[in-house]
Amino acid sequence: MLKNRVLQFLNRRGVIEVISLCVAILIWEMVAVFVIKDKGILPSPHAVFLAYFELFDLIPLDICTSLLHFAIGLGAGAVVGITLGMLMGWFRTANRALDAIIEVLRPIPPLAWIPFAIIWIGLTHSAAGFIVFIGAVFPILINTYTGFREVDKTYIDAAKVLGCEKESKLIRLVAIPFSLPYIATGIRVGMGVGWMCLVAAEYFGVSRYGLGYRLLCIFFPLQMMDRVVAYMILLGLIALVLDRVFRYFVDERLLKWKKGMVTQ
């Protein structure tokens, strides 16, 4: 009887998930307090928790600054990536002209662009945005390209027969809506890569605020490891929220017609 009830309880949604999280935090606490005993090496969860209260004033400004860098990079990445992806997917000549250049640039790690970001743009928000841009643009470009390549010929034929002959109209009325799921996937992947670049991009003191700047340039040199962990968790949570919000918007609004089949 009791065993059955316990099993029933465990089967409820979220129960096992919460328990496992709690156990992990508990083990972390135990190890930090009783084994390591040095908060410079492993700060305990309760110290991290307290750090959030101490940093209450700083956090909103840091988040806003980082989001600004992120938005600059992602926005530029989306505009450039989608435009080039569409051109290359639709026009064979554009593909042949640009493909080699892109294949040479693409494997360069985004962080290797930091020197030129600083030289070209200076220590500004846009310089951090530039690094995010380099990280985000290629996944967006390649996914958009793939979407345009995959446009079903039947849809093009059907549109032509219905009087849609101009290339610009075929792109607008057939290729773009068809490719939206691909573009959405590209942006999602680009968001992930861009966010990873963000922390390193802020390392160079492009601004006096920012999650990555605070973590790497202030907390770490001062050995405030509890605060480092607090910001690490914050960075993870914000990325998670951004991803969920994007997915919700795209799945529920933009891609209703593909319910259940979109962006895994």
Binding site: T154, A158, G163
Partner: protein, 255 residues
């Protein structure tokens, strides 16, 4: 007799890796106004190629296609087409699929919706206007495809094995509905099929094609009065004749 559509000496060759492939060889056929013409033949005989040429999606290598006394150039909404594959735009609702051709004519929204709703009702899908194609069955999808093709009021309807991928019962129902639409709208219909039963049930006249290169071997009128019974003696006799022509053709290919 004035022809609605006339295909004169049309040849179509495709470039392939193994050299030139002749899909149609000096093909000739005429279609009368409001006629229901079925084109039947073995797979790969160029039936679909012929429809694509008439639709303006491909250009003939030589020869001319004349519609209403004018030579055809490129696709245009005076020819509607229903494809073998499901060709509904999955990102548009049923209603918006049907309005697609009307939007391109810069028709006002109210007018567009009114016509589209009429067409949707005509194919028996009233109440499904706001559904997306993924929510529809195969038969329903093809009904919407028919509604979409007739909404811009083409004078001729080209159908490329439209019921090829639906089950037998649905197929029969769709055939009956199509006849009803045809009788109501008086459209000229060119219907490609590989089903003898379908041709005998639907057509005023049936054109039998040879395999590669495609050519016409027989063009015969079916004067069984409508409404037809699928199992009537006359229908069976005609079916027998059609099958014989087709098998003659097949044995020629094998020799």
């Amino acid at each position: 007799m004035n022809h609605k559509l006339e295909i004169r000496d049309v040849t179509k060759t495709f470039e392939t890796e193994e050299g030139e492939l002749m899909a149609l060889d000096r093909f000739n056929v005429g279609v009368k106004p409001s006629e229901f013409l079925c084109i039947i033949g073995p797979s790969g005989c160029g039936k679909s190629t012929l429809l694509r040429l008439i639709a303006g999606l491909d250009e003939p290598s030589s020869g001319t296609i004349i519609l209403d006394g004018k030579e055809l150039k490129g696709p245009s909404p005076d020819r509607g087409m229903v494809f073998q594959e499901y060709s509904l735009f999955p990102w548009r609702t049923v209603l918006k699929n049907v309005t697609f051709g009307l939007e391109l004519r810069k028709m006002g929204k109210q007018e567009r919706y009114r016509i589209a709703k009429e067409c949707i009702e005509l194919v028996g899908l009233k109440g499904f206007e706001n559904m997306y194609p993924y929510e529809l069955s195969g038969g329903m999808k093809q009904r919407v495809a028919i509604a979409r093709a007739i909404a811009p009021e083409p004078s001729i309807l080209l159908m490329d094995e439209p019921f090829g991928s639906v089950d037998a019962q649905t197929r029969n129902a769709l055939q009956e509905e199509l006849l009803e639409i045809w009788q109501r709208t008086k459209k000229t219909i060119l219907f490609v099929t590989h089903s003898v039963d379908e041709a005998v049930y639907l057509a005023d006249r049936v054109a039998v094609m040879t395999a590669r290169p495609g050519n016409l071997i027989k063009c015969a009128g079916i004067d069984i009065p409508r409404p037809r019974k699928r199992t009537s003696v006359e229908a069976n006799e005609f079916r027998e004749k059609l099958l014989m022509w087709l098998s003659l053709e097949r044995s020629k290919v094998q020799d």
